[in-house]
Symmetry: C2
Subunit: 334 residues, 2 copies
């Protein structure tokens, strides 16, 4: 991305092993993230950046210290690099790994890529996947892992009512996750007929079209005036964040995964809400082994969030389609 | 309090039983809360308000539906009314009880008072307390219960490092609570020699005088660069809140109980902090039975937070002493 709105597919230097903990992978598929629209729309600055942080592919080369992966393995990786051994990783927060090389990965909208901290970032599938599983495995790399984290942070589980703010790919994946985690009732906030249908497919029991204070009022109506036990915020705007706070019952749990660039939370509102909150970049690596197993066993089908598939060369068209909301999420074939 | 800075002790109508769930108590002691200084300093408006929400006393009268209390019982009450039976109370969040009569109590800087929802708000002690236990029991009504809630929200426990922002009465009580809950290391943020000494008495293992970014840096130095497992925010200012966020390690727990009137939390900062948060008005009722037992058995001595005792008639002097930071917390004898 050379500038806001300016996406080009160009030749770049071939990736190589730099550190002994690196791997080089050949991408099988990649995709465009809702968060890629922040720079595309000029909300965050961009000055010539290799885009992409969601990826599945085949290991082509490993550094001397890589122990859990072999050349030829099909792997799914987290969008955040982690050693998966430090104290923070051990506590389940791999997206904030304390290793000096940790941080966000980039440049995955590509044919090949270097993955630092390969053992702690990548997880191999049980074997080469059936081609129809590739989109689902790709979803695990971020959008499913992020939706899952949000649902876990919202403490979705048996007997719980979970409400999801945001009908984008992450919101839809939170609906799926809440269902898998056993939530009794799942309220999807959406006014988009196709996304409503997909939300219901993934397990939503109720759809609420109202937003803001009206959305809060409607969710309270549906929950004996108390609010939902758990709420997922998967948008990242001021209105969505305050709505999510308002929809959470006292003592309930809010999981927020929308990148909150523009949000300012009034402390006194949070104080009186008296809710548990947890969010941020998802520690996808924590969930990857389980998510891969669920996909492999065909228990979940997150691949349906991709509603447009384009070859990598047409990435610019993919960005445009998501920006104009003609597509929820674009898969790029490599 | 007639206006900011204008506290007067006046005759008011005698309290009576209004609802069958009420009790009328004769106060044994009451006190002035740090939060009473918000209106005193003009930060929140006040137009003639009966002050006080911390209280211990003897039941003088009970309504027809009161079941757990009898005339003559010595009771400690929460500063928030609760039925202790609704779904929110059952989940441990009595400060946000869903009962229509629930909410904050007031007018406890008095000789006698009506307590609605008596069964769900008051807890009787095992018998008449020794006089030297009265300050400790009074502390349980808010300042100890609030500090305890903050330490629980910060998940103080064995093997954990807990840092406490705020050396007022609530902060000191959080230090006590963190120690009782088994925290391995307790860092008190204070530059006030007497409060530092009291923090050490209550269990602080380290005292940090730096504030703001320097305070964050110092706590990180003390915690292998990671930040504390748990942090208590017991001030309620912007600087203190952001400092508390910065001191919490990724995946750690922040318990905030400072009334955050003036705080605005940048969403993106919270997003990247990736911490658990819980706070608000403490559900003191949840903790009262345990706290009374610990006090009764002389296992904890929270009464030391009162460093000035005045008769109720001199309440205005007490407010002035706390406002000018000549006293941490003022006990008013009745």
């Amino acid at each position: 991305m050379h500038a806001a709105g300016d996406v080009r597919v160009e030749d770049r230097p071939e990736p190589t092993i730099v550190e002994p903990t690196d791997a080089v992978i050949r991408l099988a598929a990649t995709c465009i993230c809702g968060s890629d629209l922040w720079p595309y729309r000029g909300v965050v600055p961009v000055h010539g950046q290799a885009m992409g942080h969601e990826y599945v592919g085949i290991v082509e080369e490993v550094g001397a210290d890589v122990r859990t992966l072999s050349v030829g393995d099909f792997v799914v990786g987290s969008f955040m690099l982690s050693d998966n051994t430090c104290e923070i990783c051990a506590s389940g927060f791999q997206a904030r790994c304390a290793h000096p090389q940790a941080g966000g990965i980039g440049g995955m909208q590509a044919q090949r890529a270097r993955v630092p901290l390969a053992d702690g970032t990548l997880v191999a599938t049980p074997g080469p996947p059936d081609p129809d599983l590739v989109p689902a495995l790709l979803a695990a790399s971020d959008v499913l892992g992020t939706g899952w984290f949000a649902a876990v942070a919202a403490q979705a589980g048996p007997g719980r009512t979970v409400a999801v703010v945001g009908d984008g790919a992450v919101g839809l994946m939170s609906v799926l996750a809440a269902r898998e985690l056993g939530a009794e009732r799942i309220i999807a906030m959406s006014r988009h007929p196709e996304r409503q249908a997909l939300a219901r497919h993934y397990g939503a029991t109720d759809v609420v079209e109202e937003r803001g204070d009206a959305g809060v009022a409607r969710v309270k109506e549906l929950t004996n005036g108390l609010g939902a036990h758990g709420v997922v915020e998967a948008v990242g705007t001021q209105e969505a964040f305050l709505q999510a706070i308002g929809m959470t019952r006292p003592g309930g749990h809010l999981g927020y995964v929308g990148v909150a660039h523009e949000v300012q939370i009034p402390g006194i509102r949070l104080f009186h809400a008296e809710i548990h909150m947890l969010g941020g970049p998802a520690p996808v690596r924590r969930f990857l082994p389980d998510l891969i197993r669920l996909i492999w066993d065909r228990k979940i089908d997150p691949g349906k969030v991709f509603d447009l598939t384009l070859p990598l060369e047409q990435a610019a068209d993919g960005y445009r389609a998501m920006h104009e909301r003609r597509a929820t999420k674009v898969l790029l074939t490599v």
